[in-house]
Symmetry: C2
């Protein structure tokens, strides 16, 4: 039963709880750039706008806070998290720890998990070729990185990785589209997977470090420029 719940979770969003729907709507608005960082999220306003009650909104907000997408100040409510350089650096640091663990687990990973990485890469590359939207490319890009962590086969590490890329997604949304050369990104990923498929785990690990470091710098630059 539990694998069903997991597998169909995206399809069952229809009758997910109201709280989850509200949280999802808020996330979407944040990723879509409809609310700027630091914007206070007023409970009553959201409740009226979405046609739900205030307690429901409160629960959804608590969810966002626990995900790091928003911050709560006592008696002052919650507001959209504002990405700062320290946060970007820390997230990328964490990503290297987690994704690095995935890369190092390449040899012990099951064939399914390895082909999952390849599948995500292909999906991303195809999207790039087809000139998909910035938003979609971004999601696919991050999905690839999460699939690296999937090589460990650890649900907790994957959950942590997912939380990290979600935080990053917010930062990217705020920074108004770090539209770096998508082809370079795809090629870089391709190189990483090729190293893995050649069984050069150490090389892939080192490559990943450079890749993530580059990503951090790019975001930091965009952040400073905004």
């Amino acid at each position: 039963m539990s694998e069903q719940a997991g597998r169909y979770s995206t399809l069952r969003l229809e009758h997910a709880s109201t709280v989850d729907r509200v949280a999802g709507e808020l996330r979407r608005a944040m990723f879509e750039g409809e609310v700027e960082s630091g914007t206070p999220l007023r409970e009553l306003a959201i409740a009226e706008q979405l046609g739900v009650s205030r307690p429901t909104v409160r629960e959804a907000l608590a969810q966002l806070v626990s995900e790091g997408l928003a911050t709560r100040e006592p008696n002052r409510g919650v507001s959209v998290a504002t990405p700062d350089p320290a946060m970007v650096r820390d997230v990328c640091r964490c990503r290297f720890v987690l994704e690095g663990a995935g890369v190092l687990a390449w040899r012990d990973a099951t064939p399914e998990r390895r082909s999952e990485v390849r599948a995500r890469l292909d999906e991303y590359v195809r999207a790039v070729d087809e000139g998909a939207s910035y938003r979609d490319l971004n999601d696919l890009h991050l999905a690839f990185h999460v699939s690296l962590v999937g090589l460990t086969g650890s649900p907790r590490l994957m959950a942590m990785a997912q939380a990290l890329v979600t935080e990053l997604k917010l930062a990217l949304a705020q920074v108004d589209r770090v539209r770096r050369n998508a082809h370079d990104q795809a090629r870089s990923h391709e190189a990483l997977v090729l190293l893995l498929e050649k069984d050069d785990v150490a090389g892939a690990h080192a490559f990943l470090e450079g890749h993530l470091s580059d990503a951090a710098e790019a975001i930091l630059g965009a952040l400073g420029a905004s």
Copy 2:
């Protein structure tokens, strides 16, 4: 201001929000073994028992669920998480990834963070010598492990590590005291720190892997025996 809030957070628990106090009380009851794994946590019962309202309890329960200490099944409420072998293995796996990252960061860590590890070790050893209670030893033991992750200087990695040991604490509480030889544990930790202080990072990393693997086996054994 923010560093004050962080530094004094433990002292300010007195006038923390009601929700946090409820969540804390529930955690305490779980760690104290007052509720068994799988026990349903009824909202109304808790609300009456603690003299708070049901929405408040709901928020506290949501907090526990997001920490992995409890699970929520739709329309069936939340109940205390039941530790299973896969969970223990996964937590220990994650711990190795995070604490390993801490160990590998030894050379780049600030002197304060390194002495923090030493301080936690001394504290633990002293408590063992003084024959502290099982509960206290357990907390100090886990605090030492978290301080290893602190070597990375990454607040997110530390938060993840804290969440992991909290989950483990629950498992240990349920398993009715894995009262392994506390002296061996302390000695093992001492050996690890000595390796680090001799700058043998690789050796310490390998040692940590064995240490965590042993810990997992011990807990699994106790779990199976219960």
